[in-house]
Amino acid sequence: MTASNNPASGGYQTDSPRFDRPLSPHLQVYRWQITMLTSILHRATGIVLSVGALLLTCWLVAVAIGGEHYARVAAIITHPAGQAFLFLWSIAFFYHFANGIRHLLWDAGWGFEIKRMYASGYTVFAFVVAATAITWWLAWDKIGGGA
């Protein structure tokens, strides 16, 4: 039996020089940089938004049914934990929204230069902070104003 058809090697030639080649560097090897951070955050915020979509359906179904069902979902949303989740959701939304536009611009061929990529990345973060702050200021102002 030669090394090349040894089942323990999974059919690969373990004694081949192929195996001495460097492997593709993984996450922990890289220095953190904004291009990598924005990419990872795009996926992470997308997952948060999907979880939020579950809450959206719960809310819409509760509005349609009304009565106690609506009261129960409204209680979850207005609970501090619910408000904390909505806050997180709004950050995820504004991030995914702005960075998604950045992705669409890349798809259109704009902004691939390193300089523009960094500038658009920082713009996304600035947008998230401003949009989240304005949204919650308006929302709390509305509740505080006895709406």
Partner: protein, 124 residues
């Protein structure tokens, strides 16, 4: 081998071609105005009681935008989570199960959302 016909149809070996890629972009584009409108609406509804929410949702333009937002968002979410499962779940049967459940749950939640909006819009 890429025949001219294959190139014209845009279908590769997966037979579905660039549909996933394209629909992800198309739904993303649609969600730019729909998403902004949705967040704006949620802010205006902050602290509103059930009657006000129902009255708000009964407006035909709002019901249309809300149903479109929900349907588009769930489609976009389905495509996005599908890629997450494809990237991180490597056990054959588990990946297959996750992808099927991903489809079912998104269709279920999306349908429930749209039907609820329509129920309120056409309600008594």
């Amino acid at each position: 081998m890429q025949t001219p016909m294959k190139r014209v149809r845009g279908l590769g070996s997966a037979k579905s071609g660039t549909e996933h890629f394209w629909m992800q972009r198309l739904t993303a584009l649609a969600l730019i105005p729909l998403g902004l409108w949705f967040v704006y609406s949620i802010v205006t509804l902050a602290g509103a009681d059930h009657d006000s929410v129902v009255a708000w949702m009964r407006h035909p333009v709002r019901a249309t935008l809300l149903a479109l937002f929900a349907a588009t968002a769930f489609y976009h979410s389905k495509l996005g989570l599908q890629v997450v499962f494809e990237d991180y779940v490597h056990t054959g049967w588990l990946k297959f199960t996750a992808l099927i459940l991903n489809n079912f749950i998104h269709v279920l939640l999306g349908a429930a959302a749209v039907i609820s909006v329509l129920r309120v819009a056409f309600g008594d």
